[in-house]
Symmetry: C2
Subunit: 145 residues, 2 copies
DNA sequence: CTGTAACGGTTGCGCTTACAACTATCAAGG
DNA sequence: CCTTGATAGTTGTAAGCGCAACCGTTACAG
């Protein structure tokens, strides 16, 4: 049956498969901690930035605020981060990793670095760098919604 | 705080964002039909191949079989596909689109073609083609699990 | 001030999902 | 035949998710 478009060339479809496969493979690195992908992303962003509000994490990760809200709840319950009211605006709260959170972030971060360099090896370093550029442009383009 | 790896360079993370953004944007094209992404993928693959078993769709789309099973149930209920027992093996069932299914697939396929060519325009055609190649290699590499 | 709109974050609810256990069927060896 | 093990697909259940509605707070126009 002829089609107007070829599914095997459809970018959202290919992106999804690549993302799903790589994320699922890397998830092996933290699933034994009972951690969700969203929780890992929150952890990683806090590890990188030091401290952020929930809203900032939403904007950075392009994730719905309820998803972040619940991930933060679980991380707090697990003792990996703590909240502090922001002076001057009682609506926001500043999120920071606890010592345990920093340790977890560091450990998973090392695994991530290894995983990523494995991917780059299979792709070739130049192509991996090009891929990063293209993905960034795609993301920047899609931001405006 | 220093990190062993840079989240902004982490491929699974970038792939996820790009995939999420593009898929979410395209989902506008079929969400008013009450269709999920998985259902659309089943529909598109059947539209392309004519007829497939559930297991084949699992392998092609790299999706869990329970997810496919339920998507097929919903599509059948919506009258977009029908099942037929395969002669010679009573375990399998062959899935085929109904007329309504083919029409839906055709309509969404046209939207998909438009959406995809929009993406390729913003990326540049050469880079889009290169992206497809890299994603294919990433997917092929990840298959073996 | 006061009303109104916007913002940050949480909660309720129905639906989807993942994971494991299950049924039914087939294939191969003894 | 009969057993053992693989395969195709479904189902039970607990958990995560998206969406809309919500509360408390802030900004600002009149």
């Amino acid at each position: 049956m002829r089609q107007d478009f070829d599914l095997d060339q459809f970018l959202p479809y290919l992106l999804n498969q690549a993302a799903e496969l790589t994320s699922a493979a890397f998830q092996e690195s933290y699933r034994d901690r009972g951690m969700t992908r969203t929780e890992w992303r929150v952890l990683a962003n806090l590890g990188k930035q030091g401290s952020l509000t929930a809203g900032q994490i939403c904007r950075i990760t392009l994730t719905d605020k309820t998803k972040i809200s619940r991930a933060v709840q679980r991380l707090e319950l697990a003792g990996l981060l703590h909240r502090a009211r922001v002076a001057g605006d009682r609506r926001q709260e500043s999120l920071t990793l606890t010592d345990a959170g920093r340790i977890a972030c560091h450990q998973i971060g090392k695994l991530a670095a290894g995983f990523d360099s494995g991917l780059r090896d299979t792709l070739g370093h130049a192509e991996a760098a090009a891929l990063v550029q293209v993905l960034r442009r795609l993301i920047a383009k899609g931001q405006g919604r």
